[in-house]
Amino acid sequence: MERDRRGEMAIAAARLLRDGERVLVGVGLPNLAANIARRVHAPNLVLVYESGVIDARPTRPPLSIGDPDLVRTSLAVVPILDLFSQYLQPGWIDVGLLGGAQVDRRGNLNSTVIGSYDHPTVRLAGSGGAADIASFAKRTVVLLPQSLERFPARIDFVTSPGHPLGLRRERGPDAVVTDLGVFDFDADGEMRLAATYEGVSAEDVQVRCGWRLRVARDLGVVPSPTPAELDALRSLGGQGRA
């Protein structure tokens, strides 16, 4: 059976969220991950969206961060200025879930352009709140499928700052979840392969990574999804098999 890579990624990311945390969520995979966590092991997870929605309990996968369903099921909706200046900036958001087109070994993310900024090959959507979330969330979890193009030695544009060279800053990237494994960040702020899915080796990951990968000495295996996780995934519109 074909692996449900999206489902695996969402479940692996969901496990990184702890009950009671306030998590800033986007649409797509981050939303799937946060809602799996809320249904399986973190019933008190507070879902916050950059549209200003606080504590949403969506009944279906939202199609935009301003989806009417998020608003109807929310505790409150605050102006965007308040969300960024009074909730995010002072550190009231525990986790930011971010996607992107490219990531580098310091956890810097590109969601702006492929190619040069002035003469782009592909012009992407841009930061939105991502650079602000990367600045202020106590930690961020990055989700993206793994390939040489997405994990290059040098990304085309730094939209959202990771850890500066040689230094792990207090907030910032804490994990990267791909369709091959889960990465953490070392004490010096360098990305490190922490675990792979069953049947995936560190070499498999290295061939889809543009720099010499740091691998944890005790490299783990991502545990298989539990029935509860698969149920949650299915009920949220995922394939529900892994």
Binding site: V27, G28, E50, S51, G52, V53, P62, L63, S64, I65, G66, D67, P68, D69, V71, R72, V77, P79, I80, L81, F84, S85, L88, Q89, T112, Y117, H119, P120, T121, V122, R123, L124, A125, G126, S127, G128, G129, A130, A131, D132, A134, S135, F136, F157, V158, T159, S160, P161
Partner: protein, 291 residues
Amino acid sequence: MTAFLTVQEAVSRYVGDGDAIYLAGFTHLIPFAFGHEIIRQRRRHLTLCRATPDLVYDQMIAAGVADTLVFSYAGNPGVGLLQAFRRAVEHGELALEEYTHFELVARLAAGAADLPFWPLRSLDSDLSARRPRPRVKSPFGPEEVAVVPALRPDVTLVHAHCADEMGNIYAWGLLGEVREAALAARRVLVSVEEVRPGDGLRAERDHLLLPAFRVESVSVAPWGAHPSYVHGVYDRDTAAYTEWDRISRDAGATSEWLDAFVHGVPDRAGYLSLLQPERLRALKEAAEHGA
């Protein structure tokens, strides 16, 4: 005194070639009726400002009204990229002034408060390196913070639920950056779903979006935010966002769409007459019943 004008009259009187304009509304209450009228009146050399350009600016960019875009996230929400925007940028036809969401709304907050700049702590990136984002020293301590300059649109255009007969504007639900964008502007033009007679709306003081003295004109435009939504009145037409992704991938299909749905109709009522009544009914029912 707030004037009650048609959408055509308001645009004709107050939106000029070369203006910096802001069509407010973060996923919700997007003033499509105004956007289409600006296309129809063939305005040129505009600076379009908006945190999330969305379909409305993709259509305006495709129609050739804009020289410059001031923005923070140019995606088709929940679908992908904005194709007309992409083409214009990749062909070097559109100048960009790009920010993060926080920076852009902070610029509006400074404009609304009549301050020259707004301080914030977002970290530096390749984005902040492309334009001036100086740091200033706090006069009260050793800290330094980055600042962004005030943004003051010539005209901000807003869509809202309703107005009273004086021109006070009321809205419910997700307000995003609407209030800051309006209060930062020299002039504010508003379209509404309806005007309610009498004093009844005064009891809704928690939902006052703008007092009449900040509103230049009010225009009645039912469904003026379609295919975005008006909370509790009609739901977001997500199919239209997917359809636009398909249409906008092709420059020819894009102009055909603009010819049919914008230039080919005189006003919002004409646009609505091209949509299936069942489609509109379903959006209304979804909003009323929370489907």
